[in-house]
Amino acid sequence: MNRSPLAARVGMAAFLAVAAAFFLLPLYVMLVTSLKPLDELRAGALFAWPLAPTLAPWRTAWSEACTGVACEGVRAGFMNSLAIAVPSTLLAVGLGALNGYALALWRVRGANWLFGLLMVGAFVPGQVMLYPLVRALGTLGLVGSLPGIVLVHVVFSMPLMTLLFRNWYASLPTELFNAARIDGAGFWGVWTRVLLPMSAPMLGVAAIMQVTGVWNDYLLGLVFAGHDFAPMTVQLNNLINTSTGTRQYNVDMAATLLTSLVPLVVYFGSGRWFVRGITAGALKG
C-alpha cells in the first residue's frame, strides 16, 4: 500500500524500457546485419556494430538480388505495391466514407440489414472467401491484373472502412446535418461541402490503416496479383527463398527493411495524426 510514487514511476519506466527493448532489439539486429559485409557476418557477434559499414547489401537488395528467375531486386515489387496501394486506398476510403455517410445519416431502406451483413463480413476470415473469389475473378478475367487485385483489396476493406465512417458520422451532431439540408444541400451536397471537410482526421486514419494493410498484405497479392503485379511482400519472400550458394543474410535483412519502409514512414510521419483521429470522436461540434 505504501509504495511511493517514485518507486511506481521507476517500475513503470523499467517495464516500458524492457518492452521497448523487446521490440527494438530485433530491429537493431536487422539494421546492423544489413550494414555488414558477408565475411563480418560469418564472425558471429550478432549485436556488434559493423566494423566496416557498407550500403552494398541495400543496393543489391534493391536492384540486383534474384527473386526467382529474374535478378532485379525488390524494386519492381516496390513499384507494384505502390501501384496497388494507391488506388486501393483512394477507392476504399472514398467508398467507405460514402457508405458510412449514407448508413449513418440517411434513412436508407434496409440500412440496418446492410450494416449487419457488413459486420458479419468483417468477422469472417478472408481465407474462407479466397476460393470463391478466385473463381469469381477468374470468370471476369481479372485474376493476375492490377484492377483485379485492387478490387479484392477494396472489397475486403469495405466492412472496416464502412464501420469506421459510420461511427464517425454518427458521432457528429445531427443538427449540422439538418442545418445543411435546410440550407438546400442534398445527399451529395451535405457530404462533399459540409461533412467531408470536417472529416480530415477520420480520412487520415482510414488512409493510414488501408495503406499499411495493403502494403503488408501477402496472401491476396500472392493469389490475385499474378506474376506481373506481385507486390513487394511476395517478391521479398521469393528473394529470401531463392538460394544461390551462401545465404546472404545482409541482403535479406536489407530487403526486409526496404519492404517495411513504407509502413514505418507512414506510422512515424503520421503518429500525431493517428492519435488525433482516434480521439477526435470525443471532441464534438
Partner: protein, 358 residues
C-alpha cells in the same frame, strides 16, 4: 413571409406517438412561441414543419402550399438550432452564404445579402473568423444570420438562447424581438422558458405530451389559463392553488375551503359553471395576494426571498402556504403576522377532477 397551417399532424418516433394529432394555424408575420417542458415534443413538431422528420398523418401548409411531402430544401424555411450547428470548416461569411451558394444565387446578390445580414447582426468584423473562434453569443448571431439571409417564408427557432448565460440571453431576446418587428416575418419559436415566451410572443401555444393545452396571446395565457397545467407552467413564483368547494350563499356563489369563505360574485367565471357542491381549485397568482390590514386571511411570513426589486414571501396560514409578492418599503420581515385578501376578480377557478378552467 407566409402563414403556416398544421392540420391533424401526427408524428411517431421509435414506435412511440410523440405528437398524437395537432392542429395549429399561424398567421403571416406572427411570432408564435411553442412553450412546454422538456421532452414534450416541441423539437419534434418543429422538425416536422421543417421536413426533417417524417409525419405519420396530417398536412402542413406553408403560404397555402401543401408541403407535407416536400424536401426540407424546397420548403424555403430558415432554422436556428439550439446547438447553433455552424459549419466548423467554414468562415462566418461562408456559413452565412452557404444556403445561397447551394442555391446558385448570383455572386453580387450573395455578397449583398451577407453584407446586410452581417450589418443587422453586428457580425461585419467577424466575417473571416471560424466558428471555433467566436463566443456563444456571436455564434448564435451567426446562426440567426444564416437563417435570415435566406429570405425564407417562415423562420423556425429551436431553443436558440438556452445555451447562453442569463444576461446574454436577455440581450439577444431583445434583439430578436426588434428583429421581428423590423422584418415582420413569420416566426415559430420553441422554448421551455416562460419568460422568453411571454416577452417574445405575439401568441403562445402551450404544449404538454405532444398536445396543445392553450393557444393565445401572452396575456390570455397568463391571466386566463385554460387548465391547471398552463396555470402552473407560466409564472414565477407559480400560481397558488387552494382546494375547496363551491357553495351558494345569500349574495350568490361562494368558494369554501378550510378557514376560508369567499364571495365569487366578482369572479370572472360564467354563472352556469358555479354549481354548488362542485369540487374546485382556486388559482391565485402571487401578485394577486394583497397584503391588507382588513383582510380576512391571517398568516405568518415563514420565508422571505428578496429578489432586489421586491421579495417573494411565503405566507403560512391555517389552510397551508401561499406565495405572495411584497413590494412594501422597508420589506416585511420573516416571522411577522400579516393579513391579506385574494383578488377574486383576477383569480382562476378550475374543476378539481378534470383540471380545466371553469
Amino acid at each position: 413571409m407566409a402563414a403556416v397551417s398544421l392540420q391533424q399532424l401526427r408524428v411517431n418516433l421509435g414506435g412511440r406517438e410523440v405528437i398524437p394529432g395537432l392542429s395549429l394555424d399561424i398567421a403571416e408575420g406572427e411570432f408564435l412561441v411553442l412553450l412546454g417542458p422538456s421532452g414534450c415534443g416541441k423539437s419534434t413538431l418543429l422538425h416536422a414543419v421543417a421536413g426533417l422528420t417524417d409525419i405519420a398523418a396530417g398536412r402542413i401548409l406553408i403560404g397555402g402550399d401543401d408541403v407535407t411531402a416536400a424536401d426540407p430544401a424546397t420548403r424555403n424555411i430558415g432554422m436556428v438550432f439550439q446547438s447553433y450547428a455552424l459549419y466548423p470548416s467554414m468562415s462566418v461569411e461562408k456559413n452565412l452564404s452557404f444556403g445561397l451558394r447551394v442555391r446558385r444565387l448570383p455572386r453580387a446578390e450573395i455578397a449583398r445579402r451577407v453584407h446586410d445580414a452581417a450589418a443587422l447582426l453586428q457580425l461585419t468584423d467577424l466575417l473571416q473568423r471560424r466558428p471555433a473562434a467566436l463566443s456563444g453569443g456571436q455564434r448564435q448571431r451567426v446562426a440567426i444570420g444564416r437563417a435570415l439571409v435566406r429570405d425564407a417564408r417562415v423562420y423556425l427557432f429551436d431553443e436558440p438562447l438556452s445555451n447562453l448565460d442569463a444576461s446574454l440571453r436577455a440581450t439577444l431576446r431583445r434583439e430578436l424581438k426588434l428583429l421581428h418587428r423590423r422584418l415582420g416575418a413569420t416566426m415559430i419559436y420553441v422554448t421551455h422558458d416562460q419568460i422568453e415566451a411571454m416577452t417574445l410572443a405575439t401568441r403562445i401555444a402551450v404544449m404538454k405530451d405532444g398536445v396543445l393545452q392553450q393557444v393565445g396571446t401572452p396575456d390570455e395565457v397568463y391571466s386566463r389559463p385554460a387548465n391547471l397545467f398552463v396555470a402552473g407552467f407560466l409564472g414565477a413564483p407559480p400560481m397558488n392553488f387552494l382546494a375547496g368547494m363551491l357553495a351558494t350563499g345569500d349574495n350568490g356563489p361562494r368558494f369554501v375551503a378550510a378557514g376560508l369563505d369567499l364571495a365569487l360574485d366578482r369572479a370572472a367565471v360564467s354563472r352556469d359553471a358555479l354549481v354548488a357542491g362542485r369540487a374546485v381549485l382556486l388559482g391565485v397568482r402571487p401578485e394577486h395576494v394583497r397584503l391588507d390590514e382588513r383582510g380576512a386571511l391571517m398568516a405568518r411570513i415563514s420565508l422571505a426571498e428578496p429578489t432586489g426589486a421586491h421579495q417573494v414571501i411565503s405566507l403560512e396560514w391555517r389552510g397551508g402556504v401561499l406565495q405572495a409578492l411584497d413590494t412594501t418599503q422597508p420589506p416585511l420581515s420573516e416571522g411577522s403576522e400579516v393579513r391579506c385578501t385574494l383578488d377574486i376578480a383576477r383569480a382562476s377557478l378550475f374543476d378539481a377532477a378534470s383540471g380545466t378552467r371553469l
